[in-house]
Symmetry: C2
């Protein structure tokens, strides 16, 4: 049974409707025999209507297939309209997945994203972009790596006067809500996998040490070794920069060592992939001669040989938590003032590279 929401057509003809067939709040109200306001109350504030009214309204909504118009909701300020996203303009599989996750969540929440790509990663330029985003209507800001790191220490961010959330940071930050995994524990857990195979000469490829997540992962590696009373050999700890090329150079160096490592723990999948390539070129049999682990569980992990044991971050869940926080902070500015830090569980994905 289709209902044509006739009532709405009796109102004075509009200039130009967006979607002439759309079911409105008024149609629902007419059908339920209540005022528009009551319908709105039923939808938005549970418990402000009698059970009977509530039921009638709900069934009218159902019958008509009513979906509230988000633009109208936003116009009244009842819904978050626009979240600004500063997005690094770099070639990273992990960040691309993160962007896709954020887009997905934003669509789900009905929030409009305003995205600004940044190639220059300086503090000043980043701050300027943030200001621009706010000036253009962003009511809140969502940061992905490395922007939380860049903006994190700066007390000025509170001058932006919008709530800010950051995904995948290394730790809590003063004026920014953080949603992350425990990088240190994750790195420790994945290093454990290698130790469990009996490996003892375990090298590590870290990201840039000015990134605190790189440092946290390095610490996790150390934790794992120390617990098993395996000494940490500085000659096996190489500072790279998260790129495939840097992993290639480090792997060549390590595998050329007279007493080469029997395992390499990489700070991300890109570098781990580079290690695998180098090992193949050296004619090593994997994982027999060398165990390799990654971090992030990007698409790369299953497109190398052998597939990578790695750590998966719950990207989508992080984006959802960030969006949720932002919505809350927008309703209740008090909640934005206190610190917020959410630590989500990671997952070690076991594959054949260990």
């Amino acid at each position: 049974m289709r209902c044509h929401a006739l009532s709405i057509r009796h109102r004075p003809m509009s200039r130009r409707r967006n979607d002439p067939g759309a079911v409105t709040l008024h149609a629902v109200a007419a059908r339920a025999g209540v005022s528009a306001m009551t319908v709105s109350n039923v939808i938005n504030r549970t418990g402000r209507a009698s059970a009977d009214t509530r039921a009638r309204v709900l069934s009218a909504i159902e019958a008509l297939g009513y979906v509230p118009n988000p633009s109208a909701r936003r116009l009244t300020g009842a819904q978050v309209a626009c979240v600004g996203l500063i997005c690094p303009d770099v070639d990273s599989v992990f960040l691309e997945r993160m962007l896709a996750g954020v887009a997905f969540v934003a669509a789900e929440c009905g929030v409009q994203l305003k995205i600004e790509a940044a190639a220059n990663l300086s503090h000043d330029k980043t701050y300027e972009i943030a200001q621009g985003l706010v000036g253009k209507g962003a009511q809140a800001l969502l940061l992905v790596p490395p922007f939380a790191e860049i903006l994190g220490g700066d007390p000025h961010v509170s001058r932006l006067e919008v709530p800010i959330a950051a995904i995948a940071t290394a730790h809590a930050l003063p004026h920014i809500a953080t949603i992350r995994i425990d990088n240190r524990s994750a790195a420790r857990a994945v290093t454990e996998r290698v130790l469990a195979q009996g490996r003892r000469r375990i090298a590590v490829l870290s990201g840039p040490l000015r990134h605190s997540d790189s440092v946290a992962r390095l610490e996790g590696y150390r934790d794992a070794l120390l617990e098993r009373e395996v000494p940490v050999d500085p000659a096996l700890c190489i500072a790279c920069d998260f790129t495939f090329a840097s992993g290639l150079a480090a792997a060549r160096h390590l595998l050329g060592l007279p007493d080469r490592p029997d395992a390499i723990v990489a700070g991300n999948d890109d570098m781990a992939a580079a290690v695998l390539w180098t090992a193949h070129q050296s004619g090593l049999a994997l994982p027999r001669d060398l165990s390799v682990t990654g971090f992030d569980d990007t698409a790369l992990a299953t497109r190398v040989w052998p597939p990578l044991t790695t750590v998966r971050q719950p990207v989508r869940a992080m984006a959802a938590a960030a969006m949720e926080y932002l919505a809350r902070a927008l309703r209740d500015p008090g909640c934005a003032r206190e610190g917020h830090d959410t630590v989500l569980p990671f997952e070690v994905i076991d594959r054949a590279s260990v």
Copy 2:
């Protein structure tokens, strides 16, 4: 000099403003000494105001940093509000990049995305999702592979009564606007690279042959060979399915052949990466003993060794063209009725794998 848009504060106090500091059309009008309508006219329909008025309005906009409120615009139907996107729930680097591109473009145009992930790729399920999206307020639909293929032949799509655009299809489609590259020419161009190196036993790994883009790429490969009068050897044409695993199996087979190929043209980067792995395992020196090419220029292309010569599709530009078409079709339904097919230029990226 900062202007506080005082005039706006004199109006009766609102219930709860979305952003109390926002500059409105009225503030601009007051400052320029004209009506709100005139400001709107200046912004939207060029040429409906005198040069003088125009200049005054523009300078007021500039001085106040006025940015129109998109929610209000959408509410009047003057701006596209919401585009539905059906997105395959698969692990594909290329599709992830495409999603990111679409998100980026949507943000730029200020359109709200409504995304639905689909794991089941049947026609009926896809149609159902499309219907659901429209029912939930999507005014137009954007299709990414393989949904255009799935929905393409179906005359029923016009019953959805919204304009539909599809990105990265193999060819034009009856009731759907298409934005794509010339897959056949692209495959031909990349095969040329291999021929130019003097290779003559050139194998090809195609995607599933029910996908018309796979077929188009296969034809391009043939075109290139035929032009150089190199016979097409059916034993060297392997039908795969775009996955790394399928590429692995095909490569093992081909490289185990008594008269193995001296080049392999793959239908996408994933399969090309699999070929590289297999070649390494077989102890071949690359590209000396074997040339390999990919398709799509995903992140994978630079995270393998040697880096892949491949074809880049202008993902972002395709998304932008699709969004533009959709906006136009929404304003002028007539334009949606006739066929639309936009072919954008591709680019062959030369790297070390050939």
